[in-house]
């Protein structure tokens, strides 16, 4: 079970990070806290920041610097046009997959009752 969960989680992290950023422009700490609240994802800094880094290199995410009263400039993350397009595709796929799996489970339940 654990390896299945690990595989599912690994595949979903990009999707979750993109959705979390899409909701609103967000800074790193806030994003980590937001994703940490989803217990099933069990993310930490060493999960989120390398993914953000890759999404930025692939052109899906960009960083906006904003001066901070303490410490270095705050780094706000938002989606690029390419990132928004990618997320639309991912969301559409996820919706289709969710419906298909729900259908499979419903027919399995029906058959087990008969």
């Amino acid at each position: 079970m654990r390896s299945w969960v690990t595989q599912i989680r690994k595949g979903l992290l990009d999707f979750c990070v993109l959705n979390a950023i899409h909701a609103r422009e967000t800074y790193g700490y806030e994003l980590v806290q937001h994703l940490r609240a989803v217990e099933q994802l069990s993310v930490t800094e060493s999960t989120v920041y390398p993914i953000l880094n890759r999404l930025r290199e692939d052109g899906y995410v960009k960083v906006r610097l904003s001066p901070s009263s303490s410490g270095p400039p705050r780094r706000y993350f938002c989606l690029t046009a390419l990132g928004r397009h990618r997320l639309r595709e991912m969301n559409a796929y996820w919706d289709g997959l969710g419906e298909a799996i729900a259908g499979l489970r419903a027919s399995a339940r029906k058959e087990s009752q008969t």
Binding site: S46, Y49, N53, E57, S68, P72, R74, R75
Partner: protein, 161 residues
């Protein structure tokens, strides 16, 4: 002031330890990750109400709640990406251009099989490099382009003989 310096020094120590575990990561990726982490630490301090005047104890607590530096080394995103895809594409398209040039310049002088051999050798090399760099999107593109062009040329040859 001394406390500020202690707090800053502890943050820099953590960042240096992370950097030490990312030796194989590309420089740009490493730099961005360290900037993200530094911002994260100051944002975490601010969330604790210690942003303006962080005390060593605050920093210590924030750092203790974060992943240990070595955990960043385990992330595949921080490893160098497979390269070679661009080379495969260059070899594929380069030999097409070269073979076409030989064909056009040598019309009536050079036998037909010479540009054909250059073309096929180039596509085979591009396929080999592309397959080796399959994880690179450009590697996949090169394999598709080379295989597609080779099939087209072979079909033209079969139907024209």
């Amino acid at each position: 002031m001394k406390r500020d310096q202690d707090a800053g020094a502890a943050i820099q120590r953590y960042l240096r330890a992370v950097a030490a575990h990312l030796e194989s990561a590309p420089d740009a990726s490493k730099r961005e990750l360290l900037r993200d982490l530094e911002s994260h630490i100051y944002e975490a301090l601010e969330a604790r109400g210690a942003g303006e005047d962080p005390q060593p104890a605050d920093v210590e607590e924030v750092l203790a709640g974060m992943d240990p530096p070595e955990s960043f080394a385990r992330r595949s995103e921080m490893r160098p990406r497979p390269a070679g895809g661009a080379w495969a594409l260059l070899v594929s398209l380069g030999t097409v251009a070269f073979a076409t040039a030989i064909l056009l310049l040598g019309l009536g002088v050079l036998p037909f099989w010479i540009p054909l051999a250059v073309f096929l050798a180039g596509q085979l090399a591009a396929l080999a490099i592309g397959v080796a760099a399959w994880a690179d999107p450009l590697g996949k593109a090169a394999v598709t382009v080379s295989a597609g062009m080779t099939v087209c040329v072979v079909l033209v040859l079969i139907f024209s003989v």
